[in-house]
Symmetry: C2
Subunit: 568 residues, 2 copies
């Protein structure tokens, strides 16, 4: 792990990068914000941005508290709010969020405001919006290259790497009239469901800073929860959009493989095409998730990304033509995955959704899991097939340690003890056997789902599954040890949409007496719970549909969401 004498040590590179990041924040904003930043023992910081009234004007607070992206877009398209003022408002609030949770990586105020001005000029000149996302500030996970900007993805070895072109999705966003305005924090390697790396450090949960914001899109989670961005783009190879979304109380979509363009973005484990990572939106509103997805698909991204599926936005599917038009549907609740039983607040979220749907006349049955552990183990083995070599090659230039845990803040001084689960290197032939196993499991699950036509009474198989996103709400740092509840759908490539439901209430979500444990992991999970630790953390569910059923899943999520609002 030694570096050549002639090169700066990796720690020196980090110090330099952090100084440059700090310098990229307008000094006058910073000086106004700093007095508002509480000491670490203030856990819930979600109310603080609105207290920064010296920085955020009343109008800026109105703008940033407009959670419904559809409303924001309407005001931007009409010119009632200019993109410059909307971008400025969100930028200021993003910096506040950053000082509270450490959620940002790249900060480029001037550039974003210049882009916003360009969009405003377009509207003024042409009399029409530039595109379906006209003027909208969009935050981006630190993988999405923007020409001319440094792209570290949390690797010390990538400090000083400047992108020579935009990622395809960034190109699409520009075409749609959007304003990419910040990039957000991630864990080293991206392969953790929390957010910590040697370059930028840790992102924390705005509802309880002792808890993780989730990962790997944890910067997005914290930022959007604090309303520092109206919508952001995360990526998900095992839950990395959905986990921060659930832990931070946001809507989000994990689309199927290759629906949203990935071309030109940086990533870990490049070439791992068996369980591809996908990009998708996180937002405070379901309208944001829908409008983003629709806009990207309508842009014909297959003209930019050779891996993108040539499949137009399917309005019939969105209107649920294949699901009885949205009436008299049959949902199924996954209460547990047969491996780890969720904590009380997660069960409460499922029960809340079930009751809300039933109150609307929808049918809700139970979903019995099928081989979830086998699917998750298969995905893990596929990742492990080449992960260790990938991490070694990437970190080798500077000798930064590969993290072995997310639990300690002094990770940066720990010599690498790479987690064993990611080092089962195999041959290509052995990888093929894992693919074969994966295909068999997917076929089995497909047949299993199709066979539910016998149970629904609708003449159709179950329309969608309602499932936990994790067996817990946001846990303390270093304690998010499994992503099984999300990874299973990556392995099966089912479209999944996260819907926030409520927050942990330590008085309501009391610890239950021990049950008959499903596994050692289940027992460990049971023992981890006490309601005080998790207090105030958001709780959510996933709505799970079929492969490449983004439109239908969004349509069904609208029904669930409306039912929740009606019941609430």
């Amino acid at each position: 792990m030694s570096t050549k004498a002639s090169q700066p040590s990796w720690k020196a590179l980090v110090i330099d990068k952090r100084i440059r990041q700090q310098a990229s924040i307008p000094a006058d904003w910073l000086s106004v914000i700093e007095p508002h930043i509480p000491s670490p023992d203030t856990l819930d910081v979600s109310g603080i941005p609105d207290q920064c009234t010296e920085l955020l004007s009343e109008r800026e607070r109105e703008i940033t508290n407009t959670l419904d992206v559809q409303v924001l877009l309407a005001k931007l398209a009409s010119g009632e709010w200019s993109s410059v003022e909307v971008t400025t408002a969100f930028y200021k609030r993003a910096i506040i969020a950053h000082k509270l949770t450490n959620c940002l990586t790249e900060i480029f105020v001037e550039r974003a405001l210049a882009r916003a001005a360009e969009v405003d000029a377009y509207l003024k000149e042409k009399g029409e919006p530039m595109g379906p996302l006209h003027g909208l500030p969009v935050s981006l996970k630190d993988q999405l290259c923007i020409k001319g900007l440094e792209t570290t993805m949390g690797y010390v070895s990538w400090i000083g790497k400047y992108a020579d072109k935009d990622a395809a999705l960034v190109e699409v966003l520009y075409k749609c009239g959007a304003v990419p305005f910040v990039r957000t924090n991630i864990p080293q390697t991206l392969m953790w469901p929390e957010t910590f790396n040697n370059v930028f450090g840790r992102t924390v949960n705005p509802y309880n800073r002792l808890l993780t914001s989730g990962g790997s899109s944890g910067g997005e989670g914290a930022l959007i929860a604090l309303r520092g961005s109206p919508i952001g783009v995360g990526s998900d190879v095992g839950g990395s959009i959905r986990i921060p979304s659930a832990f931070c109380g946001l809507y989000s979509l994990r689309p199927s493989y290759h629906r949203i363009p990935y071309e030109g973005a940086v990533n870990s484990m490049l070439g791992q095409d068996s369980v591809p990572s996908v990009f998708g939106p996180l937002a405070n509103s379901l309208s944001g998730v829908k409008l983003f997805t629709q806009a990207v698909v309508a842009s014909e991204p297959w003209r930019l990304d050779p891996l993108c599926v040539r499949k137009k936005w399917d309005q019939d599917a969105y209107e649920l033509k294949e699901h009885g038009g949205g009436n008299g549907m049959c949902f199924a609740v996954l209460w547990d995955d047969g491996w780890v039983k969720p904590h009380p607040p997660v069960i409460r979220a499922l029960e809340t959704v079930k009751k809300a749907l039933e109150a609307q006349g929808q049918k809700v049955i139970d979903w019995v899991p099928l081989k979830h552990k086998e699917v998750v183990d298969n995905v893990g083995a596929i990742w492990a097939a080449g992960a260790a070599e990938d991490y070694r090659v990437t970190t080798q230039p500077t000798g930064e340690p590969v993290l072995a845990t997310m639990s300690e803040d002094d990770n940066t001084v720990v010599e690498s003890t790479f987690r064993p689960s990611h080092s089962d290197t195999v041959s290509a032939y052995q990888l093929w056997q894992l693919h074969l196993k994966k295909r068999e499991l997917r076929k089995e699950y497909l047949d299993y789902w199709e066979a539910t036509v016998e149970k629904t009474g609708t003449g159709r198989p179950v329309d969608a599954i309602i499932a936990p996103v994790a067996p817990y709400a946001a846990p303390p740092h270093g304690k998010n040890l499994s992503s099984a509840y999300t990874t299973v759908w990556n392995g099966l490539d089912y479209t999944a949409l996260v819907i926030p439901v409520s927050r942990v209430d330590e008085n309501v979500d009391v610890k239950l007496p021990p049950h008959q444990f499903l596994s050692k992991d289940d027992e460990d999970n049971y023992n981890m719970y006490d309601s005080a630790t998790f207090n105030n953390a958001p709780i959510a569910v996933q709505l799970v549909g079929r492969t490449l059923e983004e439109e239908g899943v969004i349509g069904m999520a609208e029904i669930v969401n409306a039912a929740l609002k009606t019941t609430a």
Copy 2:
């Protein structure tokens, strides 16, 4: 390569299998056919089936000479021709074809006729056809499992393996009302562009039996060319549908990855998901290609195969909405791939198509190839990553030799000297690097194609590429050494449709003086040509469109085909 004393040697297994195959042919058919089978020095046997008038009645000759699948289907759907009589007619003719070219593997007359009777009864009872392929006999490459039938795929080690369920595509064909009626020959491992294996031996070209029928779907090629089947299903991982199609004068489609269900079929190199093999139709008519593809897609195959793309038949795309409605298009001809220049008859085929299109007012420009050799080498390296181990594991139970060449009929006694190009075993991490290279090449080619918008004058990029299928017409056995002209499109995953154009005429397609060779391979290819050797072999072109553009490619092929018919 020794086998245990208690087990029959692999040669004994072959003898037994061949006896059983022979016994599966109705004896009364065989006795009538045999006098018509000429000695091996009769090269062109394409006219022989129609001479077997004792076996094929006039009506049966009319049925089997109905090349247009749309016409066949109309007569079947109206009941003018019953499925039993159509299936009987094609079955008799298939047996003739088999005796001439050795194109069949599994023969199951009673079972097929029982199925045909079931379809006839359905029509009689319900007054409507069973589905879009009502009553149509369909031949299947030896990968497509049918419940209860032996599935050897040309491996001695698989003799005695009986399928316990239908492949998903067979299920779909049943739902569509079709009658699967024979299975067809392939090369050992499927990874050769000719057709020879230790179990069934070699399939030859009906237009010139010294030439190959191509491969790996070479049994389909010979069978359909002799009108022993109206339509067949082949598979294509590097050209295995298109090569026999071109060498035997048939229409065929290589769809993009995962458009047609592969689930439940046997294959070599299972789990090799980087360049997936795909199923597609071969037929004597373009209508067959269209109706098959439309029927399969309309069956919603994603409900049977978890890997199938959820993408409905796109009628707008078929009607060329994205290609100016089919008027004023701009095609581009790939004259050579920058590596090997095609023989004179292939160039003539390209010129014929160019002239025919221009006569219809379509524009035709040149297509300059981009890194075709790099794409093909990348695909080859991906296959080689695990091929040797796959072949070893598969052949190990009986010790049959892995073939090292397709050139000699005494291959069966050659000790395995596995071709070196398929034995570059690598690690999973190294395979990931090949994926990365593949993605980069696909992106480069996509951008390159999109950029042709500057050259077409249509406001669109080139609508489709017209390309050779191979640098030669069907070559002598063992001489089909490269599939680069087809494999390049597998690597890029572009939809490709083969259109027959003419036949080699030794008086027209004379050898040209040497050109400046593009490569050593080019020089070898030049030296291989003399017009007498290739005389009478069919020549064809590929029409190449975008990924998942099956509908558009079929629509454009109809325009090319109509232009050729008008000019002819």
